[in-house]
Symmetry: none
Subunit: 177 residues, 4 copies
């Protein structure tokens, strides 16, 4: 259906347990559901929380489906109240454009091609911490957004959530909503 070579290479980096989950994800996608499984979404949130604890951080974690609509959310104890909206907006932003939020941020700087894109869609967040979620078939099935620490930590925690489900690398325009 699409060139998945880069995806295969990435999936090789996934921990063994992630591949098991990926099979579940495949099943879901074959039903045309996007990230329809709340069980899967909650396991991604739990994996992200676990990583956040390892990093000694307090995070807000949001997962959206392929329509960028909220699927699961958790605010860890002592996480910033201001991070609730940022985590949700990062997840939506990553899914809206099928790329990591930090990549969009590079394009939205002054004089860059997408300067001011944050004004669209009721507000985007374009610094790191949001990642698209792509299943083993290379289909965009949702996004995850994390906020509550440095952008480096936010990214690592988001990555931990993605890896439970699939990858973040996208072939060109593969999605369905």
């Amino acid at each position: 259906m699409n060139d998945s070579s880069s995806l295969e290479k990435t999936s090789a980096d996934l921990p063994e347990e992630a591949l098991g989950i990926a099979e579940i994800a495949n099943g879901i996608v074959q039903l045309g559901n996007g990230l329809a499984s709340i069980e899967l979404a909650e396991r991604a949130v739990a994996a992200a929380q676990k990583k956040a604890v390892e990093l000694n951080t307090q995070m807000c974690i949001a997962v959206v489906d392929s329509g960028s609509n909220l699927k699961a959310f958790a605010r860890m104890d002592d996480a910033w109240v201001g991070s609730i909206d940022i985590a949700i907006k990062k997840a939506k932003t990553a899914c809206f454009f099928g790329m990591p939020t930090g990549e969009i941020g590079k394009l939205s700087q002054p004089a860059a091609p997408l300067y001011g894109i944050e004004h669209s869609n009721d507000g985007l967040i374009t610094f790191p911490g949001g990642l698209p979620i792509v299943d083993q078939d290379g289909v965009l099935i949702g996004g995850i957004g994390v906020s509550g620490s440095s952008v480096e930590n936010d990214h690592l925690v988001a990555l931990a959530g993605v890896q439970l489900i699939g990858v973040s690398d996208l072939p060109a325009h593969p999605w369905r909503t």
Copy 2:
């Protein structure tokens, strides 16, 4: 601090496991935490989901803290996308005024005293499915909102979530923000 007789009566109706959790809730409140425990919030969401499955329904479930800020959220498989915002607004509405959303709805009908209150606070939802969460000390520690089926079912599912933590009966103005 307040007349807790009605609370004690209500807590007598709680399942045994709920009373154990209520002790945890008490501990949290003594630390000034409101509904700060993500573990407790997620267990309330899980209890609500379990009830939703029993009723053969697909729900969106939101839990907010005493400041009406989102703490935990889950959209079950096949739940309406339009219910995401309704569940969150129900949880906020119940916490904003310390009463079940359906009670506010009775007062907001045409010719009733609070007609049009829904236009405040960026939008309220005033039909059943939102409940305040009051701990064993009679302190409002948050709210839960459920949307996705009939308002009767929404209410039952919200109630299942509340009962894991405490009750919904409020003495006069007892809360902490």
Copy 3:
């Protein structure tokens, strides 16, 4: 400047201390300031709080100037979080149209002439608790909004705030912004 006969009648009902304040208000208005005196606004909020305590209620109280812009605000201990926005919207609504919010509510019912007016101005609140503030010259100098109890109590507390400054009766279209 305008027919103040109805105003004089009303001011006769004011407590003696209110008349003293009214002289201050007159001074301000001669400077073209509307309700520019923060001292006066804060005294109105304090008078409203005092009345709220007498009624054993917990209120949010907002005062706006003749441009419907916020001048002073207080949320009493244990007042509903949801009442913050309602109190501010009541003050704005009363000033926007120079009449008590409850009067607008009569006109905004289904089949009444202003049905749905609440959708304007980023949201109006049209049940009792908001009053215009008119000085002794019959000039609209602001509004007060109160929320936190029954609409009857909200109205009484708003009235206590108005009476420290002037009256709420308006001659036809007397204001300047």
Copy 4:
């Protein structure tokens, strides 16, 4: 619970009257109240107004509780109408992230890690004039925001308000919502 050495050092710089108030603040926190005392909030606004007069400035001053919900507000005579919203947003922003607004502003410049964060939470203000309010136990109990003059003056006036209640230095993630 946390390293309070820096807090003790800072409290040593407080005027004598502030220490008395701080004891009240401690009492409140032990009751789990956050910045629930309107008396304390209004005294902070009054202290800020006094400082504003000393600096020959006209300010809008807002105080929010730990849920970033408005507690008290005053617009001084001749203060900019446009400063109403800025003062409120500064108070919320400082509380949302537990740090001075100016610190966030350093991180949100073009090419900096948090570029564009202002698009979250219905609009943040990230230049100086907003400060978190931390009580003597190191718990974030709210925020104060000031707007109406230079950002340097805004900051000084906000600081005068904070010092009546506590400090602005935060240990890592200490707060309660």
